[in-house]
């Protein structure tokens, strides 16, 4: 069950998006659809090379796709989810009012990055384009495999897409002798469709320079998604929500 199963600090939490065009209905190559689910969205970010046979204590190769992009050097994450909108309703003749849940406003997704112009230049391009993209927040307490980008091989042996440097990939390790399965380090994925609304650079005198970025969210947040540990490493993985993964 690689969805996170214990409390811990999300030190390795990351944000990524895919450059695919967002569409409704059935997507074609280079597109991603709002009508799909996490199981379809995840393959736009990463691929797994299914081993031909079980091995002992060796990594399974994962690779970032050519369309995946990481937002590196994140300093602060916003609250992730949908805030409540609780309305107090007066009750005639009663000593106290009642509460009902009204239609929630979408959350403000305000991220802060330690600003490095050579890394974060693309964010302002996204803002200027106004395009809607598929974003993935990967909540992770443990270290994962980091995409190398540049069609280089990463730690797991997978060959990453050219512009995908720093996208976080699953850390999957085949189990020891007598066990054909594998173990995936825990993480939980959350997906949202949105666009970059703001890009504000904040120079600092005694700390790292920062950039504040706001995302607009369209629709609901989807998650937590993750992979179930396979009992046979040669089979395809199940990607689902708890309690199945």
């Amino acid at each position: 069950m690689p969805n996170i199963t214990s409390i811990g600090a999300g030190i390795y939490t990351s944000l990524a998006y895919v450059t695919n065009t967002v569409v409704e209905g059935t997507p074609t190559a280079g597109e991603v659809s709002r009508d799909e689910t996490g199981d379809e969205w995840r393959v736009e970010f990463e691929t797994r090379t299914t081993p031909g046979a079980a091995g002992d204590n060796i990594p399974v190769a994962w690779a970032a796709t050519a369309n995946a992009r990481a937002f590196g050097r994140i300093r602060e994450f916003p609250n992730i989810g949908i805030p409540a909108n609780i309305v107090n309703v007066p009750q005639y003749g009663q000593p106290s009012s009642s509460q009902v849940v009204g239609q929630s406003d979408p959350p403000n997704l305000d991220f802060t990055f330690n600003y490095v112009p050579s890394i974060h230049y693309f964010i302002d391009d996204l803002r200027a384009s106004g395009e809607t993209k598929l974003f993935r927040i990967r909540l992770s307490n443990g270290e994962l495999v980091k995409s190398q980008g540049g069609t280089a091989a990463n730690e797991s042996g997978g060959t990453d897409g050219a512009g995908s440097a720093d996208v976080q990939l699953p850390y999957e390790w085949q189990n020891g002798a007598g066990d054909d399965g594998s173990t995936i380090r825990e993480f939980s994925d959350f997906y949202l469709f949105g666009s970059v609304a703001s890009f504000e650079i904040v120079p600092a005198l005694t700390d790292a320079n920062q950039v504040n970025v706001s995302l607009t969210i369209q629709g609901q947040l989807s998650g937590p998604w993750s992979y179930a540990n396979p009992t046979d490493v040669t089979t395809s993985l199940v990607y689902g929500k708890p309690p199945t993964a």
Binding site: S14, R73, R75, A208
Partner: protein, 133 residues
């Protein structure tokens, strides 16, 4: 961030540079005491990377701390030389980017007076904060 050994290496390299060597003031790493042929005046480099910086998600490590240069001059020669040496240290350390990752802040000077261990020496501490991102 640079590793701990790279931080100390980058800082020590400053005192091997031609810019510092031309000052003709010997600099020693801490834990090396100049015993034989001790110069009249010298500095000891002390680096304390003792403050963790949790300012970024991911595996990159940032650390901050203090750089302390203990400045020693002979007693009964006044304090002017202490200030002159501090100005020379400012030239190579004050608000600088050192190596790939170290950034130093503005310096300060703490004049200590006669050295407790060696009464023939007068001591001042030149101090600045640094961060390694």
């Amino acid at each position: 961030m640079a590793s701990y050994s790279q931080i100390i290496g980058d800082l020590e390299n400053i005192f091997a540079s031609s810019e510092w060597v031309s000052n003709d003031i010997q600099a020693y790493p801490s834990n090396i005491a100049p015993t034989s042929n001790r110069p009249n005046e010298y500095v000891i480099i002390e680096v304390l990377p003792a403050q963790e910086l949790n300012i970024q998600y991911g595996d990159e490590k940032q650390v901050a701390g203090l750089i302390i240069l203990q400045i020693y001059t002979p007693v009964n020669t006044g304090t002017r030389r202490i200030y002159e040496i501090s100005d020379l240290l400012d030239d190579v350390l004050n608000k600088k980017v050192i190596g790939d990752s170290i950034q130093t802040s503005a310096s300060s000077l703490d004049v200590k007076g006669n050295d407790l261990d060696d009464p023939s020496l007068f001591r001042a501490d030149y101090v600045l904060r640094f961060s390694s991102y």
